[in-house]
């Protein structure tokens, strides 16, 4: 076992400084991802900066929207009446993630930054460009049933596993971060990078940059939002395909639409082409079918995961009908 330094600072500035000072430091929140990766030898940090003593947990109502502290546990997000009442897609997505035990531990910040469940990434001895840049992608010619049909590259086709991130994307959420020199507000839509030739870089965040909170703005479409997740069993499994949609419908016409997909791309995926079909239309069967097809127009499935293309269409058909129902 490599020497490991464990630190538990109680203020944000100290946590950031401790992480920035060591290029192999890793922040530890709920630990549900980090501890597993550590045990499997996928991560080998020299320093763990445990952020659980920082005062950044809890949900606050702010400017009509919500500010969710980065350390808020998923179970507390799902239980919050304002989340359930005004941002239903997020409540659904959180409850569809993992198990009760894990939701009690996992934090909102960690959920956004959790690593892919690609089996090759999690096995420290097989080639994987994300884990060991330049070694190759084992999934492209190997097992890729669960891999990306959108946004992948010839270096990596792993998918982002987070359910909450998909809902946060559809709800225009913004991530507040802090580094030693700057604070930033990054829309979730801008947070994630596509793999391209550098799949090891997954987000815009710099080393040591701390997510302090995730903010949900008050919007005209959040209240009519929902999340649907299809998995291989009814509970406690990652998504094959999931979708979050949010709609502002007035006088029978869709004014604004957000469509985000999970389980299909290396990042939570914004289906802008589907949004464009919905905007200005009436919610008819034809509109839904056109939007669902638009979402996968650019899909590039591989041998084993072509089923995801049809599954996206069906998931979107159902979730749009659900969100669109009732005026």
């Amino acid at each position: 076992m490599a020497p490991l330094e464990y630190l538990r600072p109680s203020d944000e500035g100290a946590a950031i400084a401790l992480a920035e000072a060591d290029g192999r430091a890793c922040l530890l929140a709920g630990g549900t991802d980090v501890v597993g990766l550590l045990k499997d030898g996928v991560l080998a940090p020299s320093r763990l900066v445990d952020i659980n003593a920082l005062p950044i947990a809890g949900v606050e109502i702010r400017d009509g929207g919500l500010s969710i502290g980065a350390l808020t546990r998923l179970s507390d997000v799902a239980d919050h009446p304002a989340v359930r009442g005004r941002f239903p897609a997020l409540a659904h997505a959180v409850l569809a993630a993992a198990s009760p035990q894990l939701r009690n531990m996992a934090t909102v910040g960690g959920s956004l930054l959790q690593r892919t469940r690609c089996g090759y990434f999690r096995d420290p001895v097989t080639p994987c460009n994300k884990r060991a840049p330049g070694t190759g992608c084992s999934a492209i010619d190997g097992e890729h049933r669960l891999h990306a049909i959108l946004g992948g590259s010839d270096r990596c086709i792993a998918v982002h596993p987070s359910d909450p991130a998909v809902a946060l994307l559809a709800l225009d959420a913004v991530v507040r971060t802090r580094g030693s020199r700057k604070e930033r507000a990054i829309p979730v839509d801008d947070l994630y990078l596509l793999p391209g030739s550098t799949p090891e870089r997954e987000t815009l965040l710099e080393h040591g940059e701390l997510i302090v909170a995730v903010e949900l703005p008050a919007t005209s479409f959040a209240a009519r939002s929902c999340y649907l997740k299809v998995r291989e069993r009814a509970s406690f499994e990652f998504a094959l395909v999931s979708a979050a949609v949010a709609l502002d419908v007035r006088g029978g016409v869709i004014r604004t639409a957000r469509v985000a997909l999970g389980g299909v791309a290396p990042r939570p995926w914004r289906a802008r082409a589907a949004e464009a079909v919905l905007r200005g239309s009436r919610m008819t069967e034809a509109t839904i079918a056109a939007a669902a097809s638009a979402a996968v127009r650019d899909a590039r499935p591989r041998e084993q995961n072509a089923f995801k293309v049809e599954l996206v269409r069906r998931v979107l058909t159902r979730v749009l009908a659900t969100a669109g129902a009732g005026g």
Binding site: A2, L4, L7, P9, V35, D50, S99, P100, L102, N104
Partner: protein, 170 residues
């Protein structure tokens, strides 16, 4: 554990509070999970070790009253917390109502999943004394059992729910 000094591997000593007792953990690697420390260093084998990845729930314990998978908790992170394992649920040799009900309903076959399920069911019924069938299923969805097919486990949970309900009615 606070402090900014580097700590070498295999050399750290710290204290955990488990089932109401202070326990010394000597010369531990700081990357060890709470599950590993409970089982290997403190002689508490009730929390089981199967997947080590949060997938099976057999390692379920309470940390400050919150149900967690101890395989995913860093032991060092539990230093200021109160840990309760399945060994700490019952009073002496008496069984808890949940434990007794598992036996009565035949919900135990190989028994590997049983400690984790008992802890999870205590958590459920202490928070929600009258859960519906779907709530029960969701509450134990993080606990995998490869023997029973769950039927008798669900029956055991229902029996405790009904028993506690009768007791609390005037």
């Amino acid at each position: 554990m606070t402090g900014n000094h580097p700590l070498a591997a295999e050399s750290e000593t710290y204290e955990l509070s488990v089932n109401g007792r202070r326990e010394q953990v000597k010369a531990a690697w700081l990357g060890e999970s709470l599950l590993a420390v409970l089982r290997e260093r403190l002689g508490l084998p009730g929390a089981k070790n199967a997947c080590e990845q949060g997938e099976c729930g057999s390692c379920s314990v309470f940390v400050d009253g919150v149900l967690v998978c101890s395989c995913c908790v860093l032991a060092a992170d539990a230093v200021d917390a109160e840990v309760t394992t399945v060994e700490g649920l019952a009073d002496g040799d008496a069984l808890t109502d949940v434990q007794q009900s598992f036996l009565d309903a035949g919900a135990v076959q190989c028994g590997f999943c049983t400690p984790g399920l008992v802890v999870a069911v205590h958590d459920l019924l202490d928070r929600n004394p009258d859960p519906g069938d779907l709530e029960v299923r969701e509450a134990i969805s993080g606990n995998l059992c490869r023997c029973t097919g769950y039927g008798r486990i669900l029956a055991a949970v229902e029996a405790v729910r009904d028993q506690r309900g009768r007791r609390s009615r005037p």
